[in-house]
Symmetry: C2
Subunit: 558 residues, 2 copies
C-alpha cells in the first residue's frame, strides 16, 4: 500500500465513522455523517464551476480497453451537456478488472470499507458539483438534486459499506478447532476464513436517481471485494462518471488498481447492458429500471446474483384522520415532489365512496378529492416554489403519460405548465389527479398499472375493507415500494399492518408533518421490502450484501 | 400459546443452548450439544423397536388434504419397509399451511428459534430410531447413519436456526427516530420492524443424506417464519416423515398449527417436486440432488429463492508429504467411507507423473497409486470393518457406474464384494481406483464428469503446477464441494489457497489423522462455498438465511 493513503491514515480518518454507522444500523435511530443543508458545504461556487468545466469535453477517465468515445446527454433543463465518455471493449476491460481483484481481496474487509469511506468522503466534499450533474441529468430541482443526489445517496452508499463490512467479519479470520477424543489426544485443526469476491459487479443505473439508486450496489459490491463496472443510463451518465473518477483516484492513492471501478457507456442504441450482463466475469448485477428489463436480467443473467428494483404501484388508503389539513398538505407534497417521478410516489389514493371522518367533520369522496386538489394548487401556486419542488420532466415518455391522463377519467386537478426562469426550455408541469371508480373493471385496468410520472388516481372504493383488499391485491400482483395509510381506527391500523406484513410492503401511517411516504432515511428506513414484485431486495439489509461474497475456509492440522 | 409448552418453559430449556450456539458460530471453535457416541443415548433397544414398529404400516400423520396413501421404500440392505405416507392435494394442503403462518410470524424470532430447538431436542432423544430409518433408506452403515443422520444432522439444523435467529434480530423490534430541524422542533417517528416470512418453504430431500442435507433448509425456513413442506426422495421418506411428525407434535404443544410443517410424498413416477416447485405459495426451495433438476429449479421456480446443492468433481492435489503413511491411510478412509457416496468424496487424485517427495523417500506415480490401493485393501481387508465403513450401495445406478469403471482405464484397485452377515441381500462393494493420464483428452472427458459412487481416478499430471491449473478448471467448470491438498512446500500451499480463493472452494491441507476431507463440522466448517457450480449456497452462513424472510417496517409520527 502506498504511503499516500496508508491504512493508518484511513483508520484515523474513517474507523470512527464506520463504528458509528455499525451502531446506527443496529439501533436504527437518526444518524447521518453527511449534512443535507447546502449551506453546510463550502464549495457552492467552485462546485458549479467544476460542473461547467466538464461540459463540452471528453470526461477524463484513463481506463483500459477504450475503443471509442460516446455521449449525448441533454439536460431536462435544456442544456446539451456535450460530454463524451469512454466506450469499452469488454474483452480488454473485464480481464483488467479481474486482474485487479486478488490484491483487493487480500486487503481484507476493514481496508476495503475504509477505502470506500474515503471515496464517499471525497464525493461528499464535491456535493455541489455532483448536485449540478444530478440536476442536469435527472431533471430534479437543485435542492432535491443536492440532497437526494448528494448526502442521501452518500448515506445509502455508506449504509451498504456498513452492512458489507459487518457481514464479512462475522466469521473470524482464523480459528483453532479442537475436538475431544475421549481418552485419546484431542484432534486440532487450524482454520482460516477468507471473504472472497464473486467476480465483477455490474451496476446498471437509472435516469432519475443515478447516484441514490446506484451507490448501494456499487459500494456493496466493492466493499465485498468485487470489481465494479458502472453502466449508467444513457441520459444520466455524468453523476456516475464523476463517481467512478473519484473511486479510481482513491483506489490508486491507496495502492490498488484503479480498474477495480470502471465505467461503461453505450453507443446510442447499442444495448450494452445486455451484452455485459451475460458476460461470465459478471457475477453480481444491480439494476434499477423497467420491469421488462429487470425480468429479462433475472431470467437470463443466471451466472450472476441479480438485484432489481422495478416498477410498482404505490397505494395510500384513506380511511379517516384527526388532522385533515395535515393529511392533505402531506399528500400534496408527496404527489408534487419531483413531479411524481419517484419509485416511491403514491399513485392510487383509495377513498371510500361514502366519504371519511375527519377532525373537520365528515368529508365526502368528492370533498376529499377537491380538497386535495386545492392543497396541491396551494402548494404549487407560486412558480418559484413550484419550480423548487417539481423539477423538470425527465423524458418525453413521462410527458406523454401526463398529457394522456385527462382522457382516462374525470380530472380533479389539471396539470399546468410552469415556466422556469433560468431554463425556459425545461418542461415543468404540476401533477394531475384523475378520479376513477374502483368497482369498474376498465378503471381497474388503468390504476393497476404503473403510470410513472405526475399522474395519480383518486380511486373510489366501497369501503375501507375493500380498500385494504385492493391494497393487498395491488402489492401482490404489481408490487409496491411504499404504502401509506390514514386512519384514526386502531382496527384499521391493524388491518393495514396485517396486509403489509402478509404482502410484504413498507407502511407509513398518518404522516401529516415534514416526513413523506416517498422519502426514506438511510440507517433507519428500509427502501423497498424485497418481498413483492417491485424489488427483489431492500436497501439495505444483510440479504443485500451476504451473497456478494463467499467465505473460503482453509483447514490444516495444528 | 398453550400451557403444555409455554414460552417460559422453552426459554428455560433452550435459551442457553441458543446463546452458546450464537457464540460458537462466531468463534467457530469446536462445539456440539449432540453427543456423537451411540452409547451416550439410552434408547438403543427402544429405538430399534420403534423403527421396527413403523414397518408395514401407514405412517401416522394427520394433515389436511391427504387424497391417498403412497410408499414403496426398499432398504439398500434388502428389507421392504412397507410404510405408506400421505399423498397431498396441494390445493387443500398449501392453503392450510399458509393459514397457519400469521400466528407463527407473530410469535417472533426467539419463540420460533426455541420451538425449533425443542423439535431438534426431541429428534435427538430418538436418535437410535432415526439411525435405523437413515440406515435403511440411505444404505449407510449403522454407525454412520447414527452419527451423520443423527447428531451431525441435528447440529446442522441447530446451526441454521442460530443463523436465522441472529439475522432476524439484527434490526430492533422498534426504534424512535428523531431528526433535528435546526431551530424548529425535531421530527420524531416511531418505527416497528417485523421479520415476515416469504411463504412456504419446499424442502426436496435426497436419497443419501435425508436428514443431514434436509435439516438446514427445513430449520432455516421454519425459524424465519415460513411454513415448510417436506418432499423427501421417494427412496428416503422415513427419516423425514419422522422429522415432520416430531415437528408437528411440538408445534401443536406450543400452541401453533401443526400444518406449519407438512409432508408431501409422490406417487411412483409422479414428479410431484416439479408441480410443487412452481406453486405460487412456494417462495423458498431447498434442493439436494442432480445438476439437471437443480438447474431446472433455478431456471423455472422463479417465484422462489432457490438453494441448490448439485453435482461436483472433488479433487485432491498430491504434491509431497512429510507423513506418507498418514496421507495414504487418510485418503483410503475418505475413498471408502459410505462407498464414496458422499458429495464430498474425492474423485480425482492428481499426482505428478514423475512422482512425489515423501518422508519415506521419493515415490513414483505408480508407487503412490499402488500404495494407496494397498492402504484401501488394508483398511477394508476385514469384512466386519469393511461393512462398518462402506454401507450398502444406495441404488442400481451407483452399482452400474462401479461395474463400468474397469472399462475406463487401468484398474489400480479392483472393487470386491463384501457379504453383510445380517443383510445378505445388501450390495456392499469396496471402491475402485482407476489410473488415467491427465494429458489425454478422452481421459479428461471421463474424470471431468462426476462419477458418483465408489469410483476414483488417479490422474497422472505433468507437474504440480499443472495439477493446480487442472484443479482451477475443474472447480470453475464442474464445481467442487471439497478440495484436498498434500504438500510440504509453502509455495504450493499458497498456490492451492490462491486457486481455492479465486475459484471459490473449501480446502483441506495435509490431513493425515482422524479428520477427513469429506467431513465437515457444523458451527465451524462451511459445507460448500456457494460460489462454484456444485452449490449455490454454503451451510451455513447469513446468505443461507437472510433472504428467507423480509423486514417490514411500519412508521408513524410520535
Amino acid at each position: 500500500m502506498s504511503a499516500e493513503l496508508s491504512t493508518a491514515l484511513l483508520v484515523e480518518r474513517h474507523r470512527g465513522t464506520l463504528d458509528t454507522a455499525l451502531d446506527a444500523v443496529r439501533t436504527r435511530a437518526y444518524w447521518s455523517p453527511h449534512p443535507e443543508n447546502p449551506k453546510a458545504y463550502a464549495d457552492a461556487e467552485a462546485g458549479k464551476s467544476a460542473f461547467e468545466a466538464l461540459l463540452g469535453h471528453r470526461f477524463p477517465l484513463d481506463q483500459p480497453g477504450t475503443d471509442e468515445w460516446t455521449g449525448g446527454e441533454r439536460s431536462p433543463y435544456g442544456i446539451e451537456l456535450g460530454v463524451d465518455y469512454p466506450h469499452p471493449d469488454p474483452d480488454v476491460l473485464l480481464p483488467a478488472m479481474r486482474a485487479a481483484m486478488p490484491t483487493w481481496r487480500d486487503a481484507g474487509p476493514e481496508v476495503r470499507a475504509l477505502v470506500c469511506l474515503e471515496i464517499l468522503s471525497r464525493i461528499n466534499a464535491r456535493t455541489h458539483e455532483f448536485a449540478h450533474a444530478v440536476m442536469h441529468t435527472s431533471g430534479q430541482a437543485f435542492t432535491m438534486a443536492f440532497q437526494a443526489g448528494g448526502p442521501h445517496a452518500q448515506d445509502r452508499g455508506l449504509e451498504a459499506v456498513t452492512y458489507a463490512y459487518a457481514e464479512q467479519v462475522r466469521a473470524p479470520e482464523t480459528a483453532q478447532w479442537t475436538k475431544p477424543q475421549g481418552k485419546r489426544d484431542p484432534i486440532s485443526l487450524r482454520k482460516s476464513f477468507t471473504a472472497v469476491p464473486r467476480g465483477i459487479g455490474l451496476v446498471i443505473g437509472c435516469n432519475t436517481f443515478p447516484t441514490w439508486n446506484g451507490y448501494p450496489g456499487l459500494f456493496a459490491s466493492l466493499a465485498t471485494g468485487n470489481a465494479v463496472l458502472v453502466k449508467p443510463h444513457p441520459r444520466a451518465v455524468l453523476p456516475l462518471a464523476l463517481t467512478v473518477s473519484v473511486a479510481r483516484e482513491v483506489l490508486a492513492e491507496a495502492g490498488f488498481a484503479p480498474d477495480l471501478v470502471s465505467l461503461a457507456v453505450d453507443r446510442p442504441g447499442e444495448g450494452l447492458a445486455k451484452t455485459l450482463a451475460l458476460r461470465p466475469e459478471v457475477r453480481v448485477i444491480d439494476y434499477t429500471g423497467s420491469t421488462g428489463f429487470g425480468d429479462w436480467l433475472e431470467a437470463n443473467a443466471r451466472q450472476a446474483q441479480v438485484f432489481t428494483e422495478k416498477a410498482g404501484v404505490n397505494t395510500v388508503v384513506i380511511d379517516s384522520t384527526d388532522n385533515y389539513r395535515g393529511m392533505l398538505s402531506n399528500l400534496a407534497f408527496s404527489l408534487s415532489l419531483y413531479s411524481g417521478q419517484m419509485c416511491t410516489t403514491p399513485q392510487n389514493l383509495l377513498i371510500p365512496r361514502d366519504g371519511i371522518d375527519t377532525d373537520a367533520g365528515p368529508k365526502s369522496y368528492d370533498e376529499v378529492v377537491a380538497d386535495l386538489a386545492a392543497a396541491v394548487d396551494g402548494l404549487l401556486g407560486d412558480d418559484t416554489r413550484a419550480n423548487a419542488l417539481l423539477g423538470a420532466l425527465v423524458n418525453p415518455e413521462v410527458k406523454a403519460r401526463l398529457d394522456a391522463a385527462p382522457g382516462i377519467g374525470e380530472v380533479a386537478l389539471a396539470s399546468r405548465s410552469v415556466t422556469h426562469p433560468d431554463f425556459p426550455q425545461a418542461v415543468v408541469r404540476t401533477p394531475v389527479l384523475v378520479k376513477l371508480d374502483g368497482a369498474k373493471p376498465d378503471a381497474e385496468a388503468t390504476f393497476m398499472s404503473e403510470c410513472f410520472g405526475p399522474v395519480s388516481f383518486a380511486v373510489a372504493v366501497d369501503s375501507t375493507a375493500d380498500a385494504v383488499e385492493l391494497l393487498r391485491r395491488t402489492i401482490r400482483e404489481k408490487g409496491a415500494m411504499t404504502v401509506g395509510g390514514y386512519t384514526t381506527s386502531a382496527e384499521v391500523e391493524r388491518q393495514l399492518e396485517e396486509a403489509c406484513w402478509e404482502e410484504c410492503a413498507q407502511l407509513s401511517l398518518n404522516l401529516t408533518g415534514g416526513i413523506y411516504v416517498n422519502q426514506t432515511a438511510a440507517f433507519s428506513d428500509f427502501h423497498g421490502s424485497g418481498g413483492n414484485p417491485a424489488a427483489n431486495a431492500a436497501l439495505c439489509d444483510a440479504a443485500f450484501v451476504a451473497s456478494r461474497f463467499r467465505i473460503v475456509e482453509v483447514r490444516r492440522p495444528v
